[in-house]
Symmetry: C2
Subunit: 87 residues, 2 copies
């Protein structure tokens, strides 16, 4: 995960790689389901073979503990994801 | 739809609005299914209440007829989408 600043707001983001579009989109859905459970929603940039996941906390205009909890859950989901590429 | 240039490559993009995260993600999946059918894949930026859809053609480093066909199909999908906001 990297901390980046977009429009003056810090966020954590990471790009996850997959072997095709369908597996990337399935991961987007898996992270989306976690986000709904936790009521903390990422930005998910889905493309052929990759998903960039970004978390930040609107209410504080930056990073909060919840963002790091969601990052950990996202990693756990990736470890189970079909078609993941770790190289 | 707007034509924008990212890293020197022209793309067409449009942001679609929804009443929550789940409906935004459902639209992402609808566009993803169209993309798989046509074997022409967008970048889909899913957030709470919105999806930004971008098409471009890697092979020509810019825009091709397929991008505009997919844009039209995306519009048609939005017209059927649950929880869409048109204002």
């Amino acid at each position: 995960w990297q901390i980046v600043e977009v429009d003056g707001i810090k966020r954590i983001e990471k790009t996850f790689h997959f072997d095709n579009f369908a597996h990337a989109l399935a991961f987007t859905n898996a992270v989306g389901a976690l986000a709904e459970e936790q009521d903390h929603h990422p930005q998910l940039v889905t493309e052929w073979g990759q998903v960039k996941v970004a978390f930040w906390t609107h209410a504080v205009g930056g990073l909060h503990q919840n963002d790091f909890i969601m990052a950990a859950k996202t990693e756990a989901a990736f470890a189970q994801a079909e078609g993941r590429k770790t190289s």
